[in-house]
């Protein structure tokens, strides 16, 4: 499935893919007004994502990755063009496009259980209390936090907080899961563990994933396609890289594949030679 959906799609407009597009970023530009005139963050960005795809977005800081994802989640609106989910334009945030925020965004006064319950309760008001409790417990167990449900966020580690945030996001069964550098602040071991957990969960849930990352290896391990952005201002999608490794993926196995280094070097070349970050800015 991953192989067939991984169709390179630079131009959404003339996309002739045989699958119906699920999420379409259609000629989107984002311009911010500033004191010295307008500042164009993104210019004419096109991207088509199919249902169940795992997309990673990579690029230097300031290239508008977060802006792009914010327009999918609905926190920000395109100045030109539009973003459509299943044919409907995105106007505001909603639980069908759940976000795992960069700083976890857990409420410190609620327990781990209550944090997840808050979302489930809001999205499924018609379900019984027992049913909602079951959903919360199931998802906390899935991320390995069955024993820490009564703890408050300040009492748990960063890795555990991120697990809660992921459980909260998945418990409401979103169509699209948006992750903004979810593992950036974690140590290497926790990071690898969570990457594997995320892949496993994604395999079971098959929701569409959009994830910002700074880590090429992370992207190669997780994604079906890697979206590489050019530098701002007026950033655009430079290239979309297909990552054809068979799923389920084994980290050791794919790192031995000769293709892995080809892809890795290609992405590195894109980021550090062709679109190297200009520090003088």
């Amino acid at each position: 499935m991953a192989m067939t959906t991984a169709i390179q799609n630079l131009q959404a407009a003339d996309s002739s893919a045989n699958q119906t597009p699920f999420l379409v970023v259609d000629r989107v530009s984002k311009v911010y007004p500033t004191k010295d005139g307008s500042y164009t963050v993104l210019k004419d960005v096109n991207l088509t994502v199919h249902q169940g795809e795992f997309i990673c977005v990579i690029g230097h800081s300031g290239c508008g990755k977060s802006t792009l994802l914010n327009m999918v989640s609905g926190f920000s609106h395109p100045t030109e063009g539009e973003v459509r989910l299943q044919g409907k334009p995105i106007i505001k945030p909603g639980p069908d496009r759940m976000v795992v925020f960069q700083g976890y965004a857990l409420l410190p006064w609620l327990s781990v259980f209550e944090n997840v319950y808050l979302g489930v309760n809001s999205v499924y008001p018609e379900k019984s209390k027992a049913e909602k409790t079951r959903i919360v417990k199931e998802h906390l167990a899935m991320v390995g936090l069955a024993d820490s449900m009564e703890k408050k966020p300040p009492q748990i580690s960063g890795g555990m907080k991120q697990r809660v945030a992921i459980a909260r996001a998945l418990a409401i069964r979103p169509e699209v899961l948006i992750l903004d550098e979810p593992f950036g602040a974690l140590d290497a071991i926790t990071k690898e563990e969570l990457q594997e957990e995320l892949l496993k969960i994604w395999n079971d849930h098959r929701c569409t994933v959009l994830m910002i990352t700074h880590d090429i290896d992370e992207a190669l391990f997780l994604a079906d396609r890697l979206v590489m952005m050019t530098n701002g201002p007026a950033a655009d999608i430079g290239e979309v890289l297909d990552i054809p490794f068979r799923r389920p993926r084994d980290r050791a196995r794919i790192m031995e594949a000769p293709e892995y280094y080809k892809l890795r070097n290609y992405a590195l070349d894109f980021l550090y030679n062709r679109f190297a970050h200009d520090d003088t800015e």
């Binding site: 945030p93 976000v99 925020f101 965004a105 006064w109 979302g119 809001s122 999205v123 300040p154």
Partner: protein, 281 residues
């Protein structure tokens, strides 16, 4: 600094109970020694003939022992009551005025904090009114309300109101964007947002306001009572003693006022510790 830090744990591991007790004892003994020295200086200065007409501390105790120190609960009717009753009357007024200020201040503060336009319109008025000293409100209160008791309560209310109101509004405005984003993406119902996000997020600020205000309310009652003749209360007690040239009684009343004010602050601190989760203090 580093030396001290290194040394403390070694001594405390050797004799944990003993050193803790010593620490406790030290917390009491040091201020006690300071107090004795200050009293001694006062005793000496007040004993020098021709320097001041203030009584020495020994004379204060001698002159007020019967009946004020020995019988704080006596009650001869009218305003001739023991200091316990005088303090209680004042505290009662503070309790009413302060509670009203808390209710109005928190509710209005939330409205102001949530609504930019309301905030813009009202902020200058608040900023000006909050600098009006409690005593300046007294004639207005008396003119508007005619009677002593409601006027005194009004003066406390208006003095205690501003810090609660302003801090609550700031607390609501300072709710981290992440929390509001979570509320938006989950599309939390209004009531749920209020009780699970807005109120707990603003709570530390509300407590800051409440703690500043309890001190101000206690200051205000003394000021208000001094100009309101013929009521039971520690403020009027001082004024009455001054009229009768009983300086020792005034000094004793000051000690009571200070102790009660200190206790009120400690009470609020306790409440804060009890209610606020550890991560938010």
């Amino acid at each position: 600094m580093t030396l001290a830090q290194k040394r403390t744990p070694t001594t405390s591991t050797r004799k944990p109970v003993n050193s803790k007790l010593m620490q406790r004892l030290d917390d009491i003994v040091s201020p006690l020694i300071a107090l004795i020295i200050l009293l001694a200086i006062w005793q000496v200065l007040a004993s020098i003939p021709g320097l001041t007409t203030l009584p020495t501390p020994v004379r204060v105790v001698q002159e007020t022992w019967m009946p004020l120190i020995a019988y704080p609960f006596y009650n001869n009717g009218g305003t001739d009551k023991g200091l316990f009753w005088q303090v209680m009357s004042s505290l009662q007024r503070v309790a009413i005025g302060y509670s009203l200020a808390a209710i109005v201040g928190i509710s209005l503060g939330i409205v102001v904090g949530m609504n930019q336009r309301v905030a813009k319109s009202l902020d200058p008025i608040f900023q000006i009114l909050r600098t009006v000293p409690p005593l300046a409100w007294v004639p207005i209160a008396l003119a508007a309300l005619q009677q002593n008791q409601p006027s005194a309560i009004f003066v406390i209310f208006i003095t205690a109101l501003w810090p609660i109101l302003i801090n609550t509004a700031v607390g609501v405005r300072q709710i981290p964007a992440d929390y509001n984003n979570v509320a938006q993406v989950l599309q939390l119902p209004k009531s749920e947002y209020f009780f699970k996000i807005l109120f707990p997020a603003a709570l530390p600020y509300i407590f800051t306001g409440l703690r500043i205000s309890i001190g101000l309310a206690w200051l205000a009652i003394i000021a208000a009572e001094i100009v309101m003749s013929g009521i039971v209360g520690i403020g009027f007690f001082i004024w009455n003693a001054y009229q009768n040239n009983q300086v020792s009684e005034i000094i004793l009343a000051l000690v009571y006022i200070g102790l009660v004010g200190w206790l009120l602050d400690k009470m609020m601190e306790r409440l804060q510790m009890l209610i606020l989760p550890s991560g938010q203090r």
